[in-house]
Symmetry: C2
Subunit: 250 residues, 2 copies
DNA sequence: GCGCCACAGTGGTCGGACCACCTCCGTGGT
DNA sequence: ACCACGGAGGTGGTCCGACCACTGTGGCGC
């Protein structure tokens, strides 16, 4: 639409002129990200709502589709947007689970001393969640916890054990009634993370102990005893923590 | 290198054929993200190390530069990679602060009941951090805490108060000796988040109370009393939590 | 009335071009 | 011999235009 040569000064020239306090900082993509994020923050974009097309969005912000796509991709991995092929781009429900999905990569990529820190955080949150769950858990959810506990003890398949182990803790976290906390714990217990820890831990015959600890947590929940549940959960995580501390140099 | 017409079946044809268990799931960009993440996870890419150029990377994975750029952008916002214009792409130090930077958007985008959940998490972590800090804090760091405390009380400028408030809590979190926990708290106390809460809270004359609570936390730290520090920090956050609970429908 | 298919719209991918920026090294001076 | 300057090459950042794969919906035929 405009002369091709004008593109040279597009970023520095045309944009900066219009604003005294305008922030032309960073890349255009970065600005697009902030812009969309702001739209959602201001309530202009409701959860679940569909956005204009990439092409329209790009035109609206005066950037190319490539840059806009990068911005959308960024917001997608953040769990803010969701792109459905052939349909459109939508705002997620913006619930804790959506936004904290990336949290798992932290656990996956952390190493050495960081793992201990991660477990320390998990110990604090997991024990709190257990205490809350002890006070609030419903009978049928408690039954579900019990189901995973027995299923975990009934099989030898490490894969299946891990799955039930995860479900066991997930159910407790959900019962605590704080979705945000549950989502963080979910990330802290990401599959590859647990698998990595368990691989070594399990070999040292520490398996029976894990079974006992899980049973203790379940007992506390059944007895609706928050303090006992907190202590049991803390001890459970602390065990792994202690093992890891000795393992990876602490 | 290959016939242009072959592009048609590139995604569905060539890839899926070669693998029984191979995961050709999702978009090429998604695969590229997983691939690079895996490289880092396996230690092939060390923190701080420089990656090949976008062009080489794209060629290596057999995708276009556009797609590779989207993958890089995604990993950039996750805090895993860092792109320096004109220089290259580097792996971050992969420290807690880098990886948990996105955590702030959760606080910024959360609304209603979620904010209470967020504060509940913060209360748990903040009180734990305070307790740890009480046991570990060094004299000069304690002096720094004190400095922010007095500076916060010495001015009327809301902007400056907020800055010192943030620094006050940040210093305590850092003194706890758990960078991961500190990084999470940093996100939970993101600037826009605090500003949003304070705006309303401050008006109701709850300012003097905040001052007292901060003083109580500082006293507990100076006395090296973990229990008192934990209680004071929990009470401090609980105040805001309570106010918010009544505000946004609880 | 029901099911099927063609069509238009959308995100996904690609290749190439150019710009802004950084890095490094060679040149020139002192 | 040393340092300051400057250009060349390489890198990420941006843009464009095209095409593919998928989805949704409408109309057509049965």
């Amino acid at each position: 639409m405009d002369e091709t040569g004008a593109r040279t000064g597009a970023q520095g020239g045309a944009q900066q002129a219009g604003a005294g306090a305008g922030r032309s900082r960073g890349t255009v993509t970065q600005r697009a990200i902030e812009r969309i994020k702001a739209m959602i923050g201001q309530g202009l974009l409701e959860p679940g709502q569909r956005l204009p097309t990439e092409r329209d969005l790009a035109a609206e912000l005066g950037i190319s589709r490539s840059s806009m796509r990068e911005a959308i991709r960024a917001l997608t991995v953040m769990g803010v947007l969701e792109a459905r092929h052939g349909s459109g781009i939508y705002v997620t429900r913006l619930e804790a689970g959506d936004l904290l999905e990336t949290f798992g990569v932290v656990a996956d990529l952390s190493r050495g001393p960081r793992l201990v820190e991660l477990l320390e955080v998990r110990r604090v949150l997991e024990s709190t969640a257990a205490a809350l769950a002890a006070a609030r858990i419903t009978p049928d959810r408690l039954a579900e916890v019990e189901r995973h506990l027995t299923a975990m003890n009934a099989t030898d398949d490490p894969e299946e054990i891990l799955a039930h182990d995860l479900a066991f803790h997930r159910e407790i976290a959900a019962a605590a009634g704080n979705d945000t906390m549950a989502a963080i714990l979910e990330g802290l217990s990401s599959r590859t993370f647990r698998a990595r820890v368990r691989r070594g831990c399990q070999e040292e015959g520490a398996f029976a102990r894990t079974r006992r600890e899980h049973a203790a947590i379940h007992r506390a929940l059944a007895a609706r005893d928050p303090d006992a549940a907190r202590a049991a959960a803390a001890a459970h995580v602390a065990e792994v923590e202690e093992w890891l501390r000795g393992q990876a140099g602490g």
